[in-house]
């Protein structure tokens, strides 16, 4: 049977691409702690939704783990002090998105301990689903896979919708990234505790952990440690980008599609990243807040790539200094993975809750070289790559003709989640993904 399973293809979705993975750089590097940066920068808007509101004043001393900003309403999360120190300022900081945003600048005390002193012991078994949802919000948890959507919101499906299945996303389909891989191997106890909490809070009957089949060691490990009496299974899915996109993973595992304009909750599904649930399982029993996360720091311009437990707010300049950034060779520094991540304009940008990786590409990297853009030759490669079966070739032509309305009304532009597959395969080097981003933003502006 074991022999035969080699020939069995793991379940998957339609289309997609197979970029070079580059995961061997860090896949076997255990998660390591780094010293604190002299100053941490904690943006108030590092999640989807309403920015948090500061609870601290300039000059105030804070203890590692202490809340420093509160959630503003349900669609918001609080912030916690990632280190013991003093608030130096509340001012603007650059972010990966471009515009500057309000942030709390925390000067870290030199002798600050990595120990978290701010505990609030809780009995998880006695908590009701609503109490868990509230506790998840209090912990400041957001989707750590890169979405940064407040986790507690997904636990409360819209009225009339029932969550039947929790899908745990351990695909990590972006090249270079291995933080989720390490979390599954090293933090499986916390992960299982987090899955149990998610099951209880959502009322789902089962949880399925989906892992790309380039991490079969993680699948084997999870299968070995998941208690037999729990309705949790670990499943391998094909290694194919963008397997880790919520809609793709749902299709791969459940053979169901999220309806256009709908949410996974519409088909009874809630999807959580493994990193999010591992943090949930770690933080909730002690009533702590999210103050650090696992980040893969990798790429050809990094001398010592690895997986690190990084305090939220650590500036990239400090982080990259710890891993030996080759300053003379670096081209782009990308937050997240190279397919969907954003290149930063400044190394003063801090690591936020959604940053799963920092990838430093080389200047001479052929992948970065400026290439000649040819007209579309209708080769159809983009149609065979688009995971949601759009017609990027046609959309690209319409974008050039500035028919942005038609792109949305006739060719489902709004379904595009900018995975980048079309631009990746295009032999004419047409920046299709960028065209679609611009078209969507023009449509948004026009429609208010």
């Amino acid at each position: 049977m074991a022999l035969l399973s080699i020939f069995k293809r793991h379940p998957t979705f339609d289309h997609g691409i197979y970029p070079v993975e580059h995961k061997d750089l860090t896949a076997d590097k255990p998660i390591r702690r780094l010293p604190f940066a002299p100053e941490l920068v904690i943006p108030l808007a590092q999640h989807k939704g309403v920015p948090a509101v500061p609870l601290v004043k300039v000059g105030q001393e804070v203890v590692r783990g202490e809340p420093i900003a509160r959630a503003e309403g349900f669609l918001s999360v609080p912030m916690h002090a990632p280190a013991t120190g003093v608030i130096r300022a509340i001012a603007l900081t650059p972010t990966a998105d471009g515009p500057k945003t309000q942030a709390i600048f925390l000067k870290v005390y030199e002798a600050a301990s990595q120990e978290v002193l701010y505990d609030l012991e809780r009995d998880l078994d006695a908590m009701t689903p609503d109490e868990i949802v509230a506790a998840v919000q209090d912990a400041g948890l957001v989707g750590l896979g890169g979405g940064a959507f407040p986790s507690h919101v997904k636990m409360k499906p819209p009225a009339g919708k029932v969550i039947e299945t929790v899908i745990v996303n351990g695909c990590e389909c972006e090249p270079y990234l291995t933080c989720d891989h390490r979390i599954m191997l090293e933090q499986s106890d916390a992960l299982i505790r987090g899955i149990k909490l998610a099951l209880k809070a959502t009322g789902a009957k089962r949880a399925i952990i989906g892992v790309e089949d380039n991490k079969l060691d993680a699948v084997a490990h999870l299968r070995a440690v998941i208690p037999k009496d729990l309705p949790i299974t670990a499943e391998a899915v094909e290694t194919k980008y963008p397997q880790g996109a919520e809609k793709m993973l749902i299709k791969s595992i459940l053979r169901k599609e999220v309806p256009v304009g709908g949410l996974p909750a519409d088909i009874g599904v809630a999807v959580y990243n493994v990193g999010t649930l591992a943090q949930m399982g770690d933080l909730l029993p002690k009533g702590r807040g999210l103050i650090e996360r696992v980040v893969t720091v990798s790429g050809p311009a990094v001398a010592n790539p690895g997986n690190f437990m990084v305090p939220i707010g650590t500036p990239l300049r400090f982080l990259l200094g710890q891993v030996g950034l080759a300053a003379d060779r670096v081209g782009e520094v990308i937050l997240g993975g190279p397919m969907m991540g954003m290149a930063v304009a400044s190394l003063d940008v801090p690591v936020t809750k959604a940053v799963s990786g920092v990838v430093a590409l080389e200047r001479e990297d052929p992948d970065l070289a400026r290439r000649k853009v040819y007209p579309c030759i209708k080769c159809g490669e983009c149609l065979k790559a688009c995971p949601i079966s759009l017609n990027p070739s046609m959309l690209g032509e319409l974008a050039l003709a500035r028919q942005y309305d038609r792109m949305a009304s006739e060719f489902n532009l709004n379904q595009c989640f900018e995975c980048g597959c079309c631009a990746y395969v295009c032999p004419s080097n047409i920046p299709l993904t960028q065209y679609f981003r611009i078209a969507k933003s023009i449509n948004r502006d026009k429609n208010g």
Partner: protein, 351 residues
């Protein structure tokens, strides 16, 4: 920092492939076919291919200069057009007519539409269709393969003075004193005299015909190589061949003495070259996966109908040109079903 860091939008990775590399590989795939054409028909075929390719390149260069787009010759696509055009012409086709075909093909078939990527039809076939209509006699003046002295002398019609009618090649052929020369291609023999040449001869190319269309075997090998490199959508040639074979089959079953066998249909005339290298032209074929199959089946089927019941001996050229024109229509029928939508087509948009 030694230098400022760079900023680009995602995706930050790119597959190592480009238009010029695809086009260059198509040219490489065509070279063995060109070599066989020269081996079979001699110097005349060589001059013919050089003429069509040279004139095609010159025309492209001229129009790209005029349109201020900068030279587009370096994308190699016009080289394919020139070679393909040469391969579809009779080996002894007058060079000045071949030059006209190349000019018309690139100028009217490609440059007029806006160059690479914008042409509706295959430029090589546009050029050939033009000379088929303009010079109906010259384009059906076939000469025997493996003529003795083919590397020393030219077929007399090759060097016809521009704007003059070529000398008939019949006297020259009679002078060669070949035993088996019937003066017709296998297709014409089959159509008008119902004589079917052995499929093996037709398959390997030991026959008369257009310069580069005779050896189905060689075209098949070159096409498969290109498809294996993923620079040619194998669905198109396979659909063309399936369409042709399936259309020919019932007629052949009804009356094998009158109608050709599916094998003969596949390996004779320009079907192989058309299926593998012209119908598969990326620019002029549909982009949708199911559209490509409809397109291919249509070409194959229509080719057989023209051959069997039309006024022409060969139908692949007009079949491809017509299918090219129908491309946008086929595409609008075959838009893929978008994830999360119900039913076929463009899908319903709920917001």
């Amino acid at each position: 920092m030694a230098k400022p860091i760079e900023i680009r939008t995602s995706p930050h990775l790119k597959r190592a492939i480009s238009v010029d590399r695809i086009m260059r590989n198509v040219v490489f795939a065509l070279l063995p076919i060109c070599a066989f054409a020269v081996f079979q028909f001699g110097l005349s075929a060589l001059l013919l291919l050089l003429t069509t390719t040279g004139v095609a390149i010159a025309t492209e260069w001229f129009f790209s200069r005029m349109s201020e787009r900068g030279s587009t010759v370096s994308d190699w696509s016009v080289v394919i057009t020139g070679i393909l055009l040469g391969l579809t012409l009779p080996p002894g086709f007058p060079l000045w007519m071949a030059a006209v075909a190349a000019f018309v093909g690139v100028a009217l078939g490609k440059a007029l539409f806006g160059g690479l990527g914008y042409n509706v039809m295959n430029p090589a076939l546009v050029g050939r269709a033009f000379v088929q209509a303009a010079f109906p006699v010259a384009i059906t003046a076939w000469t025997p393969a493996f003529a003795p002295g083919r590397f020393a002398e030219l077929i007399p019609s090759t060097l016809t003075v521009p704007f003059m009618q070529p000398v008939p090649v019949t006297d020259w052929i009679a002078g060669l004193q070949l035993d088996a020369w019937t003066g017709a291609t296998p297709l014409a023999l089959q159509k008008f005299q119902h004589i079917e040449l052995p499929v093996t001869d037709v398959f390997t190319g030991m026959i008369a015909g257009s310069a580069g269309e005779t050896s189905a075997l060689l075209i098949l090998i070159c096409g498969l190589w290109l498809a294996a490199k993923r620079m040619l959508d194998w669905r198109i040639p396979v659909a063309v061949m399936a369409g042709a074979a399936l259309t020919a089959l019932p007629f052949w079953l009804m009356d094998a003495s009158l109608y050709p066998s599916p094998w003969f249909v596949l390996f004779s005339g320009g079907l192989m070259l058309g299926a593998w290298f012209m119908a598969s032209d990326m620019v002029a074929s549909p982009v949708t996966t199911s559209g490509v199959i409809i397109y291919g089946l249509f070409i194959g089927s229509l080719t057989v109908f023209i051959r069997l019941f039309g006024g022409l001996v060969e139908g692949i050229m007009y079949a491809i040109l017509l299918a090219n024109a129908l491309g946008p229509l086929i595409m609008s029928w075959t838009q893929p079903r978008v994830y999360g939508t119900v039913g076929k087509g463009r899908g319903r948009v709920s917001r």
